[in-house]
Symmetry: C2
Subunit: 257 residues, 2 copies
């Protein structure tokens, strides 16, 4: 099977235009099939605050009210998505920026407001692999932002989960490699020591890492997605920084079954 490399990028990289440009330049040179999945950066919270909307997080996940979904749609699907695609086109990497709504890429359901009302947030029921693969086979590089819709309502979707679900769906057609890009070079044993990257994590070690607080807050859903991805048949799941993944240096956390 042909290989596809899927990169999930988020805050940190998206907030640093120079670093992002360097990443997109290196990404453009990848010869294998490839795609990007992105959320937002700090700008969505900033714009929300300028507009007087309150920003609430719960377990590292944003609570999305009616005004906030409008802001995140503008920032994710507008500003960020189109800036990424414009950079890629400049690098002669023919890409297409889409959301989960376009071509019915993601069939989602608004999350049940009980026990916690996350607002305009959805969960993925199905990935439209036929549509996505048609783009890929047409030599287009998909750049997917974490917005979808159900019954005409715009919904915020966790970008780590989109990356996992899309990778699982594509793993039926491709040898799939999923890279979660973050600021640090991998999962750190000691939060104060950037060199303490845990090189491999087994699924049996996850609970222990959470219990001992090595993994906390936003890293918990990320790690859970990474393990689910591995268990659902993705060939390679890596958590690392943009610098490490592009230069194939040794510092990274690989998720193993």
């Amino acid at each position: 099977m042909e290989t596809i490399k899927i990169y999930k990028i988020g805050s940190g990289l998206l907030d640093d235009s120079e670093k992002l440009a360097e990443f997109l330049y290196q990404f453009s040179k990848i010869k294998e099939k490839k795609m990007i999945i992105h959320g937002g950066g700090k700008y969505a919270s900033k714009l929300n605050s300028i507009l007087g909307n309150e920003v609430i997080f719960h377990d590292g996940r944003r609570v999305t009210d009616e005004k906030t979904i409008e802001v995140v749609t503008m920032v994710y699907a507008g500003k960020i998505n189109k800036s990424i695609v414009a950079s890629l086109q400049k690098n002669n990497c023919n890409s297409i920026g889409i959301s989960g709504i376009d071509g019915n890429l993601l069939i989602v359901k608004k999350r049940n407001p009980i026990p916690i009302d996350f607002g305009y947030v959805g969960d993925i029921e199905e990935v439209n692999t036929t549509f996505l693969n048609a783009l890929i086979q047409n030599e287009l590089v998909p750049v997917v932002c974490s917005i979808a819709a159900s019954n005409g309502e715009l919904l915020n979707i966790n970008a780590d989960t989109i990356a996992k679900e899309i990778s699982v769906a594509l793993s039926k057609l491709y040898t799939t490699e999923l890279y979660y890009i973050m600021d640090k070079d991998g999962v750190l044993q000691d939060a104060n020591n950037d060199a303490s990257v845990i090189q491999k994590i087994k699924s049996t070690e996850l609970t222990q890492l959470i219990d001992s607080k090595v993994i906390s807050e936003g890293m918990i859903p990320k790690l859970k997605n990474a393990f689910d991805a591995k268990q659902e048949g993705i060939n390679k799941v890596v958590i690392t920084s943009a610098t490490n993944v592009m230069q194939e240096l040794s510092l990274k956390t690989e998720i193993i079954s």
Copy 2:
């Protein structure tokens, strides 16, 4: 040849969510191939003003500085584009929201700042008909917003011109009908009388209509685009309101050679 119906919608319709929903519902029921091209509405100016950016117009065209291009990208490619696509998907009309950047749909050039510096504004050099037609042939309804890019820079493109250029490009493959949707039912002989719609305008009459101030301001580039479209081989060019075009009533201005 198969028929394609191309609708350019803008301010007025985009600012009235109820009217827009009704238009999109009727649009979804059209059996022929179809697509939408849209600019922004009043919200871009509103957001610009909230963010403290100045809004300048010149001959009915927006002057786009660095902050403004960021705002219009958020509003056009984010908020408006994704809301339209979400509504269409709700109506079981499988659509894809794109800008001129995606799939290199529009090859554009930043406008020469001499004699007037319009800022981050571009002019169309070429339409990527192969890419656009691939979407259409895959039963996807394109929804195109008026943002493009050149050399990595986001640029604002006049939506009326995009509608014209795309219609001309597709007229090699389809019998093409172009509908410019506006608030009034057509071009009015008397601005104070909504019933005074001029039913047909010939290209030879355009200069006279401008000289006699029947056509002024933003309508001048719109009409010029409409005439160019007709002269470059588009089968039908109509200027009318959303109500009239969807219900096929008689009130409309048709552009004739």
